[in-house]
Amino acid sequence: MDVEKELIEIIAKRLKIDPSIIKPESRFVEDLGADSLAVMDIVIKIEEKFGLDEIPDEELEKMKRVKDAVEYIKKHIG
């Protein structure tokens, strides 16, 4: 599974933006304009899509950029 591609799709769909503008370096809030509810929606979608356990708050705080999330998913995917 191409984690990055799948994740970008999730983000693009939720934020209603073109997938091509989402880069690994993009910050969810500052660059992509996600508010905290959108971030939570994306987190829930990530957990469902990749079959992950609930992502702890401490980890969420560290996920500022798309690549942070990709790394987390790759590390925890079953």
Partner: protein, 245 residues
């Protein structure tokens, strides 16, 4: 009531009093109810009654003020989803401020206020998955008017009222409503040990002239969980016989 059938609802503090009446009402409406209390034994009478009446009532014991227990409990029910959460669990430890022990202050805030933060946080996650949710917090007239001897209790309940309004604003875009029900004097173990003369005095100040029944509160909670209440959020509904308007 519309929309309650097969709705999955967690009710905390369900072993007696108002919580138990809420579970009974929701089960009679056909909801699937997770009944919570700290100790499993205290839920046995409710579960027994449920068996006789073919209720969909599932005991879910945990301490609402302990983060790990709350998380563990929500993990157990997460696959089935959750549409309703009734935060009813609460205790009181009354004393005049100058005689109030620090542990009595802390315990009330933890059980009555922190529990709301813990349970809502977990519950909202499950509700967001379904893009639908109904949260009802049980507060108290003491949280609205204040009451001597209850600085801790009224502060906790006033805190829950403010929490309710803030969360209602946060979750409105997610189709999740958050409301509070504020009972006045209801016939439960929390009020039965009041001295007779105090009871009499209270009764005189209640326009409807009687203490309320737990069922009076349960009906309003059921309404707020139902489809008929879809345009109500951030509201505090008083169920107090007119004691405070």
């Amino acid at each position: 009531m519309k929309g309650l059938k097969d709705m999955r609802i967690l009710v905390t503090g369900a072993s007696k009093g108002i919580g138990r009446a809420i579970v009974e009402r929701l089960c009679n409406e056909g909801a699937v109810v997770y009944a919570n209390a700290r100790k499993e034994e205290s839920l046995l009478p409710l579960v027994e009654e449920g068996k006789k009446k073919n209720w969909k009532c599932i005991p879910l014991p945990f301490d609402v003020s302990k983060k790990d227990e709350v998380k563990e409990a929500f993990k157990k029910i997460k696959d089935e989803g959750l549409q309703g959460l009734v935060n009813n669990a609460g205790i009181r430890k009354d004393a005049l401020l100058l005689m109030m022990k620090e542990e009595d202050w802390d315990e009330i805030i933890e059980v009555n206020l922190k529990s709301i933060y813990l349970c809502c946080k977990e519950g909202v996650r499950l509700m967001m998955r379904g893009n639908y949710g109904r949260i009802v917090n049980i507060v108290s007239v003491a949280g609205e008017t204040g009451n001597p001897g209850q600085t801790n209790y009224s502060a906790s309940k006033g805190g829950v009222i403010a929490f309710t309004k803030s969360l209602a604003r946060e979750l409105a875009p997610k189709n999740i409503t958050v409301n509070a029900v504020s009972p006045g004097f209801i016939k439960t173990s929390m009020t039965e040990n009041l001295p007779e003369e105090v009871k009499k005095k209270i009764m005189e100040s209640i326009p409807l002239g009687r203490f309320g029944n737990p069922e009076d509160v349960a009906g309003v909670v059921a309404f707020l969980l139902s489809e008929d209440a879809s345009y109500i959020t951030g509201e505090v509904i008083k169920v107090n016989g007119g004691l405070y308007m």
